[in-house]
């Protein structure tokens, strides 16, 4: 059996802690914060970015399986968290946005989300004395432009990082974890979760097929990578979601089918690992996952 250790090479730590001082423009971020919270960006003045990305208690995601936009229209996928999104290599479940700027464009225009045109946004904001003075102050302009709105929102999203999770502090040698949590992390690596959930975000850095070892049966069509590329190899291929603050972002998976962490660990080991984990193993892994809850982003403590 020595053979196995020869073919399995273990490398340096595959997870990096969230940087403590991620750079962002605070003034713009505060304006972005206001915009993010403000339903003015929706056609009915009823839905804000924050409606589906609960940054205060929902881990930056939606508690609903799918989100509801204007006129309570249903979205087609479980809304991913906005926290630490800056560390994702692409945005959206199917990675169709190359960066946060492209991403922020999406929901604003989506008819089932905020349902606004660029002009609508500019007009709505220009009608507000407060926004006019804020944009004048920050962007030195009298005419508010859509690109500036996006810029401010993205700057806010850049500020939405959750450093100093217990696990990060453990990685930095500042704090110890319980034996179960350490065992959970070891299992996380040993059983192969780490293969996809690695890097700063424990995910968010590759597209993967759900159902490697057993076909994942969807209840309906979800916008996967195939929906963009039409390459059959990409059926059921989604961006690997981050596991940061995972305890707060239930329900899980793109279809929100896993209500608890345990459910999702079971589902993942079945479809992605092709193995069955013991209850004990699952619990340890879940304990580990809970160490990934980070601090509330500093900007959320600011008054707007």
């Amino acid at each position: 059996m020595t053979l196995f250790f020869g073919l399995t090479v273990f490398a340096k730590e595959p997870i990096s802690p969230i940087p403590l001082n991620a750079p962002y423009d605070k003034q713009k971020a505060l304006l972005g914060y206001r915009l993010f919270m403000d339903p003015i960006l929706s056609s009915t003045n009823s839905v804000a970015c924050a409606s589906c990305h609960d940054i205060f208690s929902g881990g930056g995601a939606d508690r609903n399986k799918v989100s509801f936009g204007v006129y309570n229209k249903k979205g087609n996928i479980q809304s991913p968290t906005v926290l630490n999104a800056r560390y994702n290599f692409k945005q959206f479940w199917n990675g169709r946005a190359q960066d946060l700027y492209q991403q922020a464009n999406g929901p604003i225009h989506n008819p089932v989300e905020l349902n606004m045109t660029n002009k609508d946004v500019e007009k709505e904001l220009s009608a507000s004395q407060l926004y006019r003075s804020l944009f004048l102050q920050i962007y030195k302009t009298n005419t508010i432009q859509f690109s500036q709105v996006i810029d401010a929102i993205v700057e806010f999203e850049k500020a939405l990082t959750t450093p100093n999770s217990r696990f990060d502090r453990y990685l930095r040698g500042e704090k110890s974890l319980s034996q179960d949590e350490i065992d959970g992390y070891t299992l996380f690596k040993q059983v192969g979760c780490i293969t996809c959930h690695n890097g700063i975000n424990l995910g968010g850095n590759s597209m993967q097929k759900i159902g490697l070892f057993e076909e994942y049966k969807n209840q309906k069509n979800y916008p996967d990578l195939y929906s963009i590329t039409h390459d059959p190899d990409y059926k059921n291929v989604f961006k690997v979601p981050t596991l940061r603050n995972i305890s707060q972002t239930a329900p899980y998976l793109h279809d929100g089918s896993a209500k608890t962490l345990k459910d999702s660990v079971i589902a993942m080991s079945r479809y992605q690992l092709g193995s069955t984990l013991s209850n004990q193993e699952i619990e340890k892994i879940v304990k580990f996952l809970k160490t990934l809850d980070g601090e509330t982003p500093k900007i959320l403590k600011e008054k707007i």
Binding site: M1, L3, F4, F5, G6, L7, T8, V9, F10, A11, K12, E13, P14, I15, S16, Y87, F89, K90, Q98, K189, Q190, V191, G192, I194, T195, C196, N198, G199, I200, N205, S206, M207, Q208, K209, L212, F213, D231, D233, Y234, V237, Q272, L273, G274, S275, T276
Partner: protein, 694 residues
């Protein structure tokens, strides 16, 4: 004009050159920055590609691996390729070849990224299968009896897979690889083990070939090959372009040098022309303001200075006395030398404290403008000037000449005019050498009066206010009025009567004089035509020498058929053209005219006239007549004239017979005619004998 043309040309060249150089510079900058940018883009992709390969190789080897870097480089490869595609140099049609190479790179890059994506998916499964196998295989010892052939199968499978993975060769795994075979006798647990094991073994068996092929695609050098061929094409074109640019640089430098040379040449030329122009300007300025002969300032400069009366000047106007005579006597050249000498002499040392300015303002006239000089000092200065000239021995061509000057001093405006008048005044007074202008000289007043008189006469002529008065001349023997003298008068607008003494001397110098004569001729002829008396009209030399006037006179005389007209010749001392007068007398005699000599006995009366001219009557000057009863000398003269006229057979008229006493005296002496207030005043209508009492 030439200068401006040069400057225009020069600025045209400079701006043209500047434009060419700056546009060339900016083109060159743009070009080189585009080249740099393009090369950088290429090298970024090369870097991304090699970093990606390294990452992929590592990720294929390590059991678990942080894919953040891989993701970063996939994104970078995509964005750096987009960047390359948008390089501005590719818009240049010369770089169409490069552009097509870059475009050909697109599917390669997409393919690479796609392959990496697929690789990452398969790699996840393969890794997890390996992890599973490495974890699960050890469980087989506990599950199966030691002699179970399954151990051999497991070892064989794992060896195959591990070799294949280590060597990254898909040939190790082919369709002949057998999965574990289950046995109906196996326990449920054993069966489950085999199912799980085979799940992963099958995954490896089915996907390893694809995995290897993806790794090979990723490791393939196609991006770099394409990049280097792109680079090569790019280098060919850009080298060519750079070469052209270099040639052009050389061309620009050459042109610049030539133009620079031209500019320098033009600048020197302009500088020279400016110098010449300045010299000419200075010379012209000098000529404009200076007298050529004496190098003093000239009249123009004098007037310029005086025209702006900011300074109070005292003018010394110096005239060289009788300079015309010097010129006539010694010639102009000596006269000129004399003037030059004088121009130096007048620059007295003593004048220097009065900021003197020296001028030659006329042929023989100098002016000195002095400032802040008292009247007293001005007199002293004028005196010393006069003495200096007077005492100077001008020696020119061995001739010693002495000249004097007259100096007018004046500080009242009009500066020159006043001084000039003063000069004229001095000239009349031989003993005076310099004089201060005095308003009492009244020169200006005289001129004003003259002008007024002329205006008055002009108006009178125009308004027909020139009238003829007739003064009776009595034949003393017959006690009868025989003749009338026609006298000119002007009736002023207020009715007062002007005698010719107030206007004729002034009018004589103008054309108005002949107009008056014409009026007189007309009036007298009219009068003579309707009366049997004789009428005399006064003619001066000026009238007789006026040929057109005389033509009018004779034609009127002829057409009037008048025979009772006499001519009184005025101002006989001025009868300078005797032959003309003789002709005139001959001519009028044909019309029965008698000739009278007016004012005889005064001035330089020339007795020779009587031998030359046929004179009928002598009019003895009134200044003699009116005093014959008080002044014995005048009485003697009167008698002498009377006997002289008796001797040559002419009649006589005594003028200014103002009273009975005079009348009695002249009657005794035997004068033919009497004229004067005692006989009758001049009057517009003819006085008859009845009107007079003797």
């Amino acid at each position: 004009m030439k200068l401006y043309k040069n400057i225009f040309f020069l600025s045209l060249i400079v701006s043209g050159l500047f434009y060419i150089i700056s546009s060339f510079y900016s083109y060159e900058q743009k070009f080189s920055s585009e080249i740099k940018s393009f090369r950088a883009s290429i090298s970024y992709i090369e870097r991304d590609n090699s970093d990606l390969k390294y990452n992929i190789l590592q990720s294929s080897i390590y059991a678990y691996y942080n894919q953040d870097e891989t993701a970063k480089y996939v994104n970078l490869l995509q964005s750096d390729y987009d960047h390359l595609k948008n390089e501005s140099i590719l818009d240049d049609s010369n770089y169409a070849d490069v552009k097509s190479h870059v475009n050909q790179l697109s599917p390669i890059v997409n393919d690479k990224i796609n392959s990496i994506q697929k690789y990452l998916i398969i790699n996840a499964g393969i890794k997890n299968s390996f992890i599973f196998l490495s974890r699960e295989a050890s469980k087989s010892n506990a599950l199966f009896s030691s002699n179970d052939p399954i151990h051999l199968q497991i070892t064989s499978l794992i060896t195959t897979f591990s070799n294949a993975r280590r060597i990254l060769d898909s040939d190790y795994i082919d369709s002949n690889v057998n999965l574990l075979s289950s046995d109906v006798n196996y326990t449920q647990e054993q069966k489950e083990f085999i199912t799980k094991f085979n799940l992963h073994a099958a995954y490896l068996k089915n996907n390893f070939k694809e995995f290897i092929s993806l790794v090979n695609i990723i490791l393939e050098n196609n991006i770099n090959t394409k990049l280097s061929s792109t680079n090569k094409v790019f280098d060919n074109i850009s080298t060519h372009d750079t070469q052209i640019l270099n040639y052009f640089t050389f061309f620009i430098i050459t042109i610049s040098s030539i133009l620079f040379g031209i500019i320098i040449f033009l600048l020197i030329k302009i500088a020279n022309e400016n110098k010449t122009l300045k010299a000419t300007q200075t010379q012209l300025d000098y000529l404009l303001t200076h007298d050529k002969l004496t190098s003093l300032f000239n009249r123009y400069e004098f007037e310029q200075l005086v025209a702006s009366p900011n300074t109070e000047y005292t003018l010394l106007l110096i005239n060289v006395d009788k300079f015309k005579q010097v010129n006539d006597l010694y010639g102009n050249s000596i006269g000129n030398i004399l003037l030059q000498e004088i121009s130096k002499l007048i620059q007295l040392e003593v004048l220097k404290s009065y900021i003197p300015k020296y001028f030659r303002v006329g042929g023989d006239e100098f002016a000195i403008l002095l400032q802040q000089i008292s009247t007293h000092d001005a007199n002293i200065v004028a005196n010393s000037l006069s003495n200096t000239i007077l005492s100077h021995d001008f020696v020119v061509s061995d001739i010693s000449i002495h000249v004097s000057v007259s100096i007018a001093i004046n500080h009242e405006y009009p500066l020159f005019e006043n001084a000039d008048m003063t000069l004229k005044h001095i000239k009349k007074l031989p003993e005076i050498r310099y004089m201060f202008f005095d308003k009492k000289m009244n020169f200006l007043e005289t001129i004003k009066t003259n002008i007024n008189t002329i205006n008055l006469v002009e108006d009178a002529i125009a308004e027909d206010r020139i009238v003829t008065f007739y003064q009776p001349i009595l034949n003393i023997k017959s006690k009868k009025i025989e003749k009338y003298e026609a006298l000119v008068r002007i009736i002023e607008k207020d009715g007062s009567i002007l005698t010719p003494y107030t206007f004729l001397p002034i009018v004589q110098q103008t054309n108005l004089y002949q107009d008056i004569t014409k009026i007189m001729i007309e009036n007298v002829l009219q009068k003579a035509k309707v009366n049997s008396y004789r009428f005399s009209i006064n003619f001066s030399m000026q009238d007789i020498s006026n040929i057109p006037l005389m033509e009018i006179f004779f034609s009127q005389l002829e057409s009037s058929n008048v025979t009772n007209l006499d001519i009184e010749l005025l101002e006989t001392e001025h009868l300078y053209n005797l032959s003309m007068v003789k002709d005139f007398i001959l001519k009028v005699k044909k019309f029965g005219c008698n000739i009278l000599i007016d004012d005889f006995g005064t001035g330089y009366s020339n007795f020779s006239y009587f031998s030359e001219l046929e004179i009928d009557i002598l009019k003895i000057d009134g200044s003699i007549t009116k005093e014959i009863n008080h002044n014995s000398k005048k009485l003697q003269i009167f008698k002498a004239i009377s006997s002289f006229s008796d001797a040559i057979g002419t009649k006589t008229v005594a003028e200014f017979v103002e009273n009975r006493e005079i009348y009695k005296t002249i009657e005794e002496i035997g004068i033919t005619y009497a004229q004067g207030y005692f006989i009758g005043k001049p009057s517009p209508i003819l006085l008859e004998e009845d009107d007079i009492t003797i």
